[in-house]
Amino acid sequence: MNKIGTIFRREFGGYFATPLAYVFIVIFLFVTGIFTFYLGRFFERGEADLGSFFIFHPWLYLFLIPAISMRLWAEERKSGTIELLLTLPIPLWAAVLAKFLAAWAFTGLALALTFPFWITVNYLGNPDNGVILASYIGSLFMAGGYLAIGSCISAVTRNQVIAFVLSVVVCFLFTVAGLPVVLGFFSAWAPQALVDTIASFSFLTHFTAIIRGVIDVRDVLYFASLIVLWLAANAIVIDVKKAG
């Protein structure tokens, strides 16, 4: 277990050893601001909540998270350090988990740095802080889902650009699965059960449920099991590549 901690610290520190972390955080905060204030009409809405802030998170993550996850394994493979890491006496799952957790913690840090929004809205009015907390938790779990997908795809290739593009595509599919335009396409011919299944795979469906303030265990469980599944797939991909 403490080896997970060791790899976690190395990985987490690795983000700050290069400008990557700072660039990411600045862009994240900047884009969040633009979305919230311009597209989300934060002030014009005249409501003391962070709905216009959280509503854009899936779209933000869609592009920003693959930028984080693309390097997770692709870079190790390219630089050859994967050979070092996997010949050290640690189980493969521990390496997968530790790298994921470090990336997740980093995303969590970026998310936490949006706290001025929370201060602002509390200064301007009396928001429901329970809903805001739930939304932050939901957002963090959703980020974990995107990251797990990206981590797995990053293990497939040594090319970070390919990893990025593939991750965006897969994340996009998971994001929009619940939109009427997608469901409409299926509902014309598919049985309702299938349509419901597809809808239930959507990040949007689960996330909007959470930011409405309805913290349903199932929504959190959805993201948690999604993370577990993609990380398991991640380990399998690496193991299969090992068998060459």
Partner: protein, 313 residues
């Protein structure tokens, strides 16, 4: 301490390693030779558990790599091809990271790190990011990482690649110093290195062992084994014929264009240098140089590792 049995690795239809088997004991330094693409690195990746073999087994100190990978990996120090290391880390933080992963604690950990740093002499660059280091330093950081936990088994893939002659000498000295109580495999294509550090050499070609013996035994396979080079001070007529007439001499060749240097091949590789010397003395030749060769490893290497290729084409 290292035992491999019937090791096979196929990438699709391409068989990179084809039924390798050998054992390396404590105290042995095995030089692993072969042309590029012969399967050296692939074999080392399987021994260290990075690649899973298509068939065959690897035992490290009795631990089956397929069944007890962690126990086996704990006993191994490994320098992968190209000496990869995390570029954003410094040698110090990198070695501390490896020490933590290898469960080293307290005094032992600090001592081991200091010891490894001293052995490969990277004390001067400890706090520079690894990506800014020269190739030689990077290689030495990789070696420090491999020897950090004083492993029983050391697998070094081209440990002296990219080092200058002084550093090469130093790393070879380091390997020899550690050889006594470890089983070591080094891959190299620098043949002089085999003579310098290895107690045994295994040559592979197309994934198969084509020679396995001490460096002296391999040299004896050379057509130059016990071949005598004779150079006279001045060209003289009839020398070649006189040499060819000597008992035990198979063939005489001109060694160069000067007409006064000869290569004398003995029959059946038996030493003839004494006879040649005697002949020179009897004939009153002014001898410039008279040397018997042990054999040429590069020639053995070329002969063993290209014969297959020619057959295949």
């Amino acid at each position: 301490m290292i035992e491999i049995q019937g090791l096979v690795k196929a990438f699709g239809p391409f068989v990179a390693v084809d039924g390798l088997a050998f054992t390396v004991r404590r105290g042995e330094v095995m030089g692993f030779l072969g042309p590029n693409g012969a399967g050296k690195s692939t074999t080392m990746k399987m021994i260290t558990g990075f690649l899973a073999p298509t068939a065959g087994r690897v035992f490290i100190c009795g631990h089956d790599m397929a069944r007890e990978p962690l126990a086996a990996k704990r006993r191994i120090g490994y320098l992968p091809e190209g000496a990869p290391a995390y570029p954003d880390m410094t040698p110090r933080s990198f070695l501390e990271f490896i020490a933590d992963i290898r469960d080293m604690k307290g005094m032992g950990r600090r001592g081991a790190i200091r010891n490894a740093i001293e052995k490969v002499e990277i004390g001067g660059v400890l706090d520079q990011p690894i990506e800014t280091l020269s190739k030689g330093f990077k290689r030495r950081v990789g070696i420090a990482q491999a020897i950090l936990h004083d492993p029983d088994v050391l697998i070094l893939d081209e440990p002296t690649d990219g080092l200058d002659p002084n550093q090469k000498h130093q790393v070879r000295g380091l390997i020899q110093a550690m050889a006594k109580n470890k089983a070591i495999i080094i891959s190299t294509h620098i043949l002089e290195e085999v003579d310098a550090v290895c107690s045994r050499a295994v040559i592979i070609d197309r994934g198969r062992i084509v020679a396995d013996g001490t460096p002296a035994e391999l040299e004896a396979m050379s057509r130059f084994h016990n071949c005598v080079t004779l150079r006279l001070a001045a060209a003289q007529p009839g020398v070649a014929d006189a040499l060819a007439g000597l008992a035990g001499v198979a063939r005489v060749e001109a060694a160069d264009e000067s007409g006064r240097a000869f290569l004398i091949y003995p029959e059946g590789g038996r030493p003839v240098v004494a006879e040649v010397g005697e002949l020179a003395r009897l004939n009153g030749w002014a001898v410039d140089r008279l040397v018997a060769e042990a054999g040429r490893l590069d020639e053995v290497f070329r002969r063993l590792t290209t014969s297959d290729t020619r057959d295949a084409i």
